[in-house]
Symmetry: C2
Subunit: 211 residues, 2 copies
DNA sequence: CGTGCAAGCAAGTGGGTACTTGCATGCATT
DNA sequence: AATGCATGCAAGTACCCACTTGCTTGCACG
């Protein structure tokens, strides 16, 4: 019974918070947005801080970043798929992440939890590229750590700021993952989107397939 | 006369705003931080909104992003220097930028002004790489737009979030520009830091200039 | 039918916030 | 010495905020 109202409040809190931030998310706003009496809000969550903490927690648990599990036969496709879901997921929480990070100095605990996901994501990408290197597909001299760090920055930048500074993101949303991955692969020395055996031909006659 | 107080208020406003954002930057806080009577603040700027607008404007004009003017003889050094000053500049305004962008939906005008700088920066980098391509130094098939967009995301990510999520930025601050540029150049197909003929030697003796 | 519980409603409390007003003070210029 | 000006100070206004209290209403379950 109370659950339905509880969730309505949490959802409303998420909407209001992601637009106005912690200070701007007044209990009055949240309660009217949830179409619930303001007192109910205090009865169910105790205080504004507790409510918003609960709301952030529930949004973080829905935060499972994807992992790259697949094989090495088509790295570009593999990473592109992963990148697509990562971007999709980040975009879904863009507003909340933006506010939470901006207020990290005032409320650090929330921000820490939020970045856990990105940690595991970048680690998963690093591991995958290591495997590519061991298989001789990626350049062994490439600076993988830096490339991955830049790639993750690009993911965050795209998902958080595309709607605010669209001109900084030239490719349309649907093409973005493929293009990001293509550029990333060039940086780590995977010369094309096909597996090992065609590599030789690749190096000699520079390149021929461009997708 | 009034100028000294005016500047003290602006500086205090910048400090308070970059820590607490627009809503959190109360006139009381700013005035005590500036060691000035609260009334003086209203007498000099009219309102809190006007004061903060003036403060943002003064911080944006100090916002001239650097341009790459140099020649093509050593692209890596050229871009690295540029990248260093860009990063330095962004870091100097990191807190303000973070808050302003996070509050962009509520106060768009400020955010727009803030991103002008990044626009000109990325454009300048694109032009430079175009020149490299025309000179045959950069790969003519590389996706320059995407590479530059990712590079700029990396610049923003590093300057805005390094202090909050340090583990996402593996390289130490002082090495960051060189590593970012090196990875970027790989992505756009500039194979080493020197033009074609001395390339061989360069690869051996990694780096030598660190400023 | 009656008891209990979840929610709504009206009103209030104590404190903060932007901003105003009226007055006193010191300092420079004439 | 007198005038004007920039600033400080004390107080006040009107509103907003988080949170509380006391009461009513409706619904479920024995």
């Amino acid at each position: 019974m109370s659950d339905e109202i509880r969730n309505r409040i949490l959802a409303a809190a998420a909407r209001v918070y992601s637009q106005y931030g912690f200070r701007g998310a007044t209990t009055r706003l949240i309660s009217t947005e949830a179409d619930v009496n303001e007192v109910t809000l205090f009865r169910t969550f105790g205080s504004k801080a507790d409510l918003l903490a609960a709301m952030l927690a529930s949004n973080v648990t829905a935060n499972s970043a994807p992992t790259i599990t697949g094989d090495l036969s088509d790295p570009a496709a593999e990473i592109t798929a992963w990148c697509g879901t990562l971007l999709h997921h980040l975009r879904g929480h863009a507003h909340i992440i933006r506010k939470t990070i901006a207020e990290a100095e005032e409320r650090p605990e929330a921000a820490c939890a939020a970045c856990e996901g990105s940690n595991s994501a970048s680690e998963s990408l690093i591991l995958y590229v290591e495997r590519l290197r061991n298989a001789g597909i990626a350049d062994s001299e490439a600076d993988v750590a830096t490339a991955v760090s830049m790639f993750m920055s690009a993911m965050f930048g795209d998902s958080l700021y595309r709607d605010i500074i669209p001109q900084a993101f030239p490719q349309p949303v649907e093409d973005a993952p493929a293009k990001y991955v293509q550029t990333f692969l060039r940086a780590v020395g995977v010369r094309a989107s096909l597996p090992v055996r065609t590599r030789q031909a690749k190096v000699a006659g520079t390149r021929r397939r461009t997708r």
